[in-house]
Point group: C2
Chain length 351, copies 2
């Protein structure tokens, strides 16, 4: 198992990650502090740092690396972040790490810039409050970001960064520097307005190496350590590893209903039996069925989900029927999303 | 002998540096191409890259690392750059590497910013044409600089930078990244105005590692390799190594006449004899006399300099008299400089 922002491979053992990364399990009490959300109830957001210290004076910070279409794995974190914004009425600082993606990927600067614009539309379309949401594009806000990033960078030795991310002597110097840029939004809002707000970062667990460094460094600069809450990856449709565009069967926020249907029917690993007869007799296995697992991420109602589980396990519901439920659920989410995306006025969101 | 932007030590052998760094000697023909300046005549600007390719369509680029008062060693390069601007009527892009100094020195960000402002006054006071001179402050122009710097950084591996500058595993990641920022002004003016001008960089030879990397990288980004011209260091008053603020006996552009007199009288290594009698008989040795060596940098008239040399060698001129000539020369340069400094309007110079 390898989990870094730049590579996720092997079977993910989240219990091991809790120990390895030094995060803590989310307790029922801490979950109640945030409110009632199916991603909390189902332990998809499963870990945290310092959440017990959360006051009512905080902002949220999360981000996106723009190098392609946004898939549903990204959406999960953002939808949850938007929900937190609604719950607490707080500001969201959303960082677009165009520098990171340019430095790390074999893509042109212009392509990255195009994806940045496309991705901004998708983020805005999640439904963030434009009055309380501030997009930071690293290359566009460099006048604010770079002076703070060098203060972070001064505290980070080469060997620290090398081991945190598994970089080599052949890694470019921009990739080494970049983690300093990802630290800055944890304290930038306080620099901009002179406030003392806490920073709470929701993120998928692979981003943890960045924020472990962040928490080491920012107190040395006189800032508070950010609080954080980590989620599990949305599994890939075929059932193994993290959903990722590079695997080729991700579902994108811009996919059409027929594309969604085709991908789910083709790739979603089934927990059903080999024949209808056998399935009716013995029932399906939801634990290994990606369609069911995805519904845990996307179907908010426990009642509906429990009902599906029961019927699938008993053999009353066939694999194809389960897939159709997922197809319809995703397509209804995407239809709403795409409608909102049409109406986005981007400059309302810029820092 | 070690010559990098971050450390100069040992006795400097410029002939060896020509081979080691792969620069070429300035030929009489190339010198004539630039014009008649005593720093060329006396081989203080002594080496170059690609100067034979210089057309009449170029801009000058040089810079300053703001971490203290400006000493006369810096002044030499700038005064020569100003003279080139006058000769050719070309633009000068002047970079203040406040990020570099912050990252490399044990100084606070605010202190570096104060020095940046002070140093800008000194640079402007050299007499650059405000209409054709553009100050770049790395942290203040990061919106222009950082997006280009990451394009450079993407082409530079860790191991390349590590060996070019002699960095270690304990060096901070900002220092590693920084060289990308020093490359950008070699092509930024063309990006800003869509032009195709050549870039000519006058610099003291210790900056060569930056620009060797620059010349490797920028063609890969579709830009022309910069041309360059290198000078020797102004020797330290006590006679060994490079003049440097860290040695403690540098003469600053802001020094008062009495400070200049005190420093030269106290520190300038003399080529005179032990007694007046012996000096009158055998004469002084100008080759090892720092006051005479400094006059080679600051006294533009060959006639005056030859006359001093003759009299000093013959014993007619005593060490104290030679020192006084240097004191007066420096003080007259500084008096003019300080007068101009009072009148500088900085924002006329900002990019």
């Amino acid at each position: 198992m390898k989990v870094t922002p730049y590579e996720v491979k092997g079977k993910i053992d989240y219990e091991k990650l809790i120990t390895k990364f030094g995060v803590k399990r989310l307790t029922p009490k801490l979950k109640r502090k945030l409110g009632d959300h199916h991603l909390l109830r189902r332990n998809i957001f499963f870990a945290h740092r310092d959440l017990e210290k959360l006051t009512d004076n905080f902002f949220l910070y999360t981000g996106c690396g723009p190098s392609g279409n946004i898939h549903l794995g990204h959406y999960i974190v953002w939808e949850f972040t938007k929900w937190l914004q609604d719950q607490f009425g707080c500001d969201v600082y959303f960082q677009f790490t165009d520098d990171e993606k340019f430095l790390y990927k074999n893509m042109s600067y212009d392509d990255i810039q195009n994806w940045t614009k496309e991705n901004m539309l998708d983020v805005a379309a999640v439904g963030f409050n434009p009055k309380k949401t501030f997009f930071i594009v690293n290359t566009k806000h460099a006048n604010l970001m770079y002076p703070e990033a060098i203060k972070v960078a001064k505290k980070l030795t080469l060997s620290t960064v090398k081991s945190a991310f598994g970089f080599t002597n052949e890694t470019n110097i921009g990739s080494y520097f970049y983690t300093a840029m990802q630290t800055v939004p944890t304290f930038l809002p306080n620099i901009l307005d002179g406030g003392k707000r806490q920073c709470l970062i929701p993120y998928a667990i692979d981003q943890d190496p960045h924020f472990r460094l962040t928490r080491d460094i920012v107190p040395k600069l006189g800032h508070q350590k950010p609080l954080s809450i980590q989620c599990k990856f949305l599994p890939a449709l075929q059932g193994d590893g993290k959903l990722s565009s590079s695997v080729g069967n991700a579902i994108y926020l811009t996919d059409s209903p027929s594309q969604v249907k085709k991908k789910i029917n083709k790739y979603a690993f089934s927990g059903g039996r080999d024949t209808v007869k056998e399935h009716r007799e013995k029932g399906g296995n939801p634990d290994i069925d990606t369609s069911f697992q995805w519904l845990r991420y996307f179907e908010a109602s426990d009642k509906v989900l429990d009902d599906i589980e029961l019927k699938y396990k008993s053999g009353e519901m066939l694999s194809g029927e389960l897939k159709l439920i997922l197809v319809n659920k995703i397509n209804s989410i995407l239809a709403e999303h795409q409608k909102r995306r049409e109406k986005v006025v981007l400059n309302q969101f810029m820092l």
